[in-house]
């Protein structure tokens, strides 16, 4: 059954059939071939979209579009340029730093890409960066969104594996920052021969101050969102809605670059962008249902785990499993399928389930940016209007850099455990 399912999926994909449809149709055809009931199809479709945690996706996409229309983006970029524009490749650093910052606001990968992409992709292109590379960098950096707390992924893992969510959150901080550093290094590697990068003359203090003043309302937005969450005013999902309202407020009344009549266009645009992501998530859930119900995931995992009995060997094989999973299904589906299968193995090996949670989350964060099914890539494509393969080619160095961090996390549990232990968080 596994062969039929993956075979049909690959075939449909190569015929340039939309990825969502390829996922759904390969599942339904397999169900028909193996005489499974089909009436689960609409139920899984509904259940997978009708999830409260997914609301952050349309909200942050809308917030991103609003910040662009409101003129917040261009002012933020100008400010960033004044600060680091005289460094070669400064904007790539800015991108990763802002991504880490945003990761501390948003709990989801695609939401992070949506919030940043609309601002930073055009900015990087203007500064002479390759468009594909800029989009790929942001898609990869978006994965940090689920590693640095708050994180929907950790909450789901924590509930499934029954480990402390507070401890998981703190355990994710250092690995998340390491991913950021790795991405910066990778962008320097990619940019090393780029002659077109614009380096600006160093700004004067006055210019810096002026740019700061101009961008003030934009700089304030993460402060408001973070303050809202950490001050106990809003939940992470509500924060996404607050970002929208704040962006509108600034756009309508302060910068006055949004007109009331633009609102309809903004809302329709955001709905469509968000729906392409959700349509894939819905169909990936149907695919995931068959992986679970047909015991495909269990059989494949057991077969792979049978290859070795050493702890390191098993961890490396798990890396392979997660990365393969990340190529086909979204992170949350992966948790539902894989945690119950793999956790008993982890317990037998005596691996700390918190380390495993970080390890799995980093894996799936990478999966968000791996083709063919990489939700972050889609959001980035949507924003940059590039095709999936154009971005896919450029994303490779970033994936390699992230995998290096992943291996570090695999072999050095202290990278995850040191901070929570140091802070005394159980």
């Amino acid at each position: 059954m596994a062969l039929v399912l993956f075979g049909i999926f690959t075939g449909l994909l190569l015929l340039n059939i939309p990825i969502a449809i390829s996922l759904g149709l390969s599942t339904i055809l397999s169900l028909i071939i193996f005489d499974f009931p089909l009436s689960m199809f609409p139920q899984i479709m509904y259940a997978s979209i009708g999830k409260f945690t997914l609301l952050a996706i349309p909200f942050f996409i809308l917030a991103g579009i609003i910040m662009e229309y409101a003129g917040i983006s261009k002012r933020l970029i100008k400010f960033a340029n004044v600060l680091v524009g005289h460094f070669r490749g400064g904007l790539a650093i800015v991108t990763v730093i802002v991504a880490c910052f945003f990761a501390a606001i948003s709990g989801s990968g695609p939401a992070t890409v949506a919030a940043l992409g609309a601002i930073l992709i055009p900015a990087m292109v203007n500064a002479g960066y390759d468009k594909g590379m800029s989009s790929a960098l942001i898609a990869s950096a978006g994965g940090i969104g689920i590693v640095i707390p708050p994180s929907i992924a950790f909450v789901v893992y924590g509930v499934l594996a029954e480990v402390s969510i507070g401890r998981l959150f703190v355990a994710g901080i250092i690995p998340g920052l390491l991913m950021g550093i790795a991405l910066i290094l990778a962008s320097y590697y990619v940019m090393r021969n780029n002659e077109n990068l614009i380096t600006y003359p160093k700004a004067t203090t006055k210019e810096i101050f002026m740019a700061f003043k101009d961008a003030f309302w934009g700089i304030l937005s993460p402060v408001i969102i973070l303050g809202g969450i950490y001050g106990g005013f809003v939940t992470p999902t509500e924060a996404a809605g607050v970002a929208v309202v704040y962006g509108l407020f600034v756009g309508l009344f302060i910068y006055k670059e949004i007109k009331i009549k633009d609102l309809g266009e903004l809302l329709v645009k955001a709905s469509i962008s968000s729906a392409t992501v959700l349509f894939i998530i819905a169909n990936a859930s149907v695919f995931a249902w068959l992986l679970t119900t047909g015991r495909i995931a269990t059989d494949m995992a057991n077969a792979l785990m049978g290859l070795t009995s050493s702890t390191i060997g098993i961890l490396l094989i798990m890396n392979v499993i997660f990365i393969i999973a990340g190529c086909f299904i979204d992170a949350i589906s992966a948790y539902y399928i894989l945690v119950p299968i793999l956790l008993p193995v982890i317990r037998t090996l005596g691996i700390d389930p918190v380390v495993f949670g970080v390890f799995m989350t980093v894996n799936l964060a990478i999966g968000l940016a791996t083709p063919p099914v990489g939700i972050n890539l889609y959001v980035a494509c949507n924003i940059s209007k590039l095709s999936l393969q154009e971005i896919s080619k450029k994303v490779l160095p970033f994936i390699v850099a992230s995998i290096i961090v992943l291996l570090m996390i695999t072999f050095i549990p202290q990278l995850s455990l040191w901070l929570p232990n140091f802070l005394g968080i159980r």
Binding site: L15, F41, G241, G264, A270, I272, P371, Q389
Partner: protein, 154 residues
């Protein structure tokens, strides 16, 4: 079609706006009136599902659903036009199946007069988003591939 376009766009815009308003209103209400709107999750999710599935249909018109054209790019232009139809065909098959079983789900919920837990809204109202959305997706997929075919593929 023009009429349909307008209706669709109004629906997408208004529904997303309502989602934001309810979400933000809940925050304000909790702080200033010390009263949470307990219905928010239920209502917002119903609107969210309707918005998403109909927007997925409109996305066809904008060519926003991504595929991999690595292989098909190698084909001669004439062939590419025909391959383009395959996407609409696959979509139609999948969505027709979704429509059929979606209607079955809706009928079951009607038969058992199932309702949502907080507001008691009949469950078929949110659920019919699935079959009706499937229908819209079929229309849009066929329409967009027809236009693309006439324009000589892409």
């Amino acid at each position: 079609m023009k009429f349909l376009n307008k209706i669709e766009e109004y629906f997408l815009g208004v529904s997303l706006a309502i989602m934001v308003i309810i979400n933000f209103g809940n925050v304000l209400s909790r702080y200033f009136l010390r009263a949470s709107w307990s219905f928010t999750e239920e209502v917002v999710i119903i609107i969210f599902v309707w918005n998403s599935i109909l927007a997925a249909a409109v996305a066809y018109k904008h060519g926003a659903h991504l595929g991999l054209s690595v292989l098909t790019d190698l084909l001669p232009e004439k062939m590419q036009r025909y391959v383009g139809i395959l996407g609409a065909l696959a979509t139609t098959v999948l969505m027709a199946i979704l429509y059929k079983y979606g209607m079955e789900m809706v009928r079951t919920q009607m038969r058992f007069s199932q309702a949502t837990p907080v507001l008691g809204i009949p469950s078929w109202i949110p659920s019919s988003a699935i079959p009706i959305g499937a229908l819209f997706i079929i229309i849009r997929a066929i329409q967009s591939s027809y236009i693309a075919f006439k324009e000589g593929g892409k």
